[in-house]
Amino acid sequence: MNYRRLMLIGVPYLWLLGLFLVPFIIVLKISLSDIALSIPPYAPTLDLSEGWAGLKDFFSKLDFDNFLFLKTDPLYWKAYVSSLQIAIFSTAITLLVGYPIAYGMARAPEEWRATLMMLVILPFWTSFLIRVYSWMGILGKEGFLNATLMWLGIVDEPLTILNTNTAVYIGIVYTYLPFMILPIYAALDKLDISLLEAAEDLGCTRTSAFWLVTLPLSRPGIVAGSFLVFIPVIGEFVIPSLLGGSNTLMIGKILFEEFSSNRDWPVASAVAVLLLLIVVVPIVLFQRSQERQAEAQK
């Protein structure tokens, strides 16, 4: 191994090691420490200057108290359950909204498709924060939606949508929709139209051809899109903070508040570790399905 190759591998490797893996181990460690009124506000801290005794002392003081605390305080497990619930429902809604759009794109005249693709991708380049914020002006009590509904005479009293879970769902569907549309479109675009013609020749109606041919063949897109929405939504912080109310419990928001307002670092770290454990399952499933997909294409 020559010097240059060592540099090439070493520099990004050490960077990731130092700024990704090591910080993560620190979180693990603090999640097993006790809260203390000091700076930094946790104990024990690892003191290597005392050598072996310090290390032994350090490990003997570690415990799972913070995790037990999470179990006893209903706020946390409620937040976990509600994060999962919101993630599952919003993924389902995003799928129902996104599928027809992807389908329409795949059936659009050839010369439109590049433009339609660009129009789906364009919001990605626009600030996520601004896209979430734009709904605050629409959903508020004196917002655009209520003003329009009252003007049309559909409602007499303004609806309370902002700062409820409904607003959170709208925000999630809106911001994550492109993640759902793109993989489904990719799957539908590859679909051979002659298969549908064959199905119709063999006596299928258009609707049954859709259920029997199109939908099963677009499954990889549906699976990929659903994971791409589900995984980031579980840890979402911006949407519940801006659009949700005080009773919107999402674990990303709790973690941030635990850390910044309560300054309870050990508990915040324990919340982070549990959040990661919850997210790891869908991530591994997603990777597996992607690998299977790649195998099938070979």
């Binding site: 990731l16 626009t126 924060l129 734009s134 840890g235």
Partner: protein, 271 residues
């Protein structure tokens, strides 16, 4: 053209209306003269004026821009190196660990990445400020750069590199004069992606920024937490305009270069 029915037309129209109407409403209301968000009080650009007189916003914009330029450049260098090592580096100890570390920050909830980086900076006694934000953004965005660059590296013909080596190039020369020009478009898109992600990031910056280094997203977030603000509408409109301008220009340039190449090829074929 087959199967483009009224159903498809409706779902496309409704879908794109859903994607674009909220931003359109935001843009329109940024020119609203009144303070109340829902009541139209005549066309005015006064919120833009107020925005430009607000020193705190200008400072935050300057911090964000500097962080974006520094972190995206660093991330592009590191991410390209990492992609090259993963795709071309062959077997080496810890390759799996490295590709895992490159993949993880993309899928990990940002609150966890933010928290862990902050705890690291505190543990090593690094003061929170511009430097810590740059470090955090570089780590996060280099993974995206490496994804973009490695997808280009995977598809290109490795025999070109081998030919350069056979003809007497050193590996570095081969990289510089053969590989780099071919992957350059991917490197540029990687840089743009990293830059955009850095400008947009709220969560990481909230954890690792100090009082003297407020970025624009942090400023926006704290301003709109309690409700709609006309000044933020104006700021959002400007940000949307910049992005739209950038994307449209890029696609026009792209289209032009494709047409030019086609024309060149035709001329070459004709002569």
């Amino acid at each position: 053209m087959r199967r483009f029915s009224w159903f498809n037309a409706t779902s496309l129209t409704l879908g794109f209306a859903f994607l674009y109407l909220p931003m359109l409403i935001l843009v329109i209301y940024s020119f609203n003269g009144g303070r109340n968000v829902a009541i139209w009080a005549g066309f005015s650009t006064k919120w833009y004026g107020e925005l430009f007189r607000d020193q705190a916003f200008l400072d935050a914009a300057w911090v964000t821009l500097r962080v974006g330029l520094m972190s995206s450049t660093l991330a592009t260098i590191l991410g390209t190196m990492a992609a090259y090592v993963i795709v071309r580096g062959g077997r080496f100890k810890g390759r799996t660990v490295m590709s895992g570390m490159l993949y993880a920050p993309i899928v990990m909830p940002e609150v966890i990445t933010g928290l862990s980086l902050l705890l690291l900076f505190i543990a090593i006694g690094l003061d929170r400020g511009l430097v810590t934000i740059v470090l955090a953004h570089t780590t996060f965005t280099m993974c995206f750069v490496s994804v973009v660059v490695s997808s280009r590296l995977v598809t290109f013909d490795q025999s070109l590199e081998e030919a350069a080596l056979d003809l007497g190039c050193t590996p570095w020369d081969a990289f510089k004069s053969v590989t780099l020009p071919i992957i350059a478009p991917a490197v540029v898109s990687g840089w743009l992606l990293a830059f955009t992600l850095s400008l947009d990031d709220l969560v990481l910056a909230s954890f690792v920024s100090g009082p003297s280094s407020t970025t624009l997203p942090i400023k926006i977030f704290s301003a709109v937490r309690l409700g709609v603000s006309p000044k933020i509408n104006a700021l959002s409109t400007m940000m949307i305009a910049i992005v739209a301008f950038g994307v449209i220009t890029a696609s026009l340039i792209n289209k032009r270069s494709v047409t030019k190449r086609l024309k060149d090829e035709q001329e070459a074929a004709a002569s």
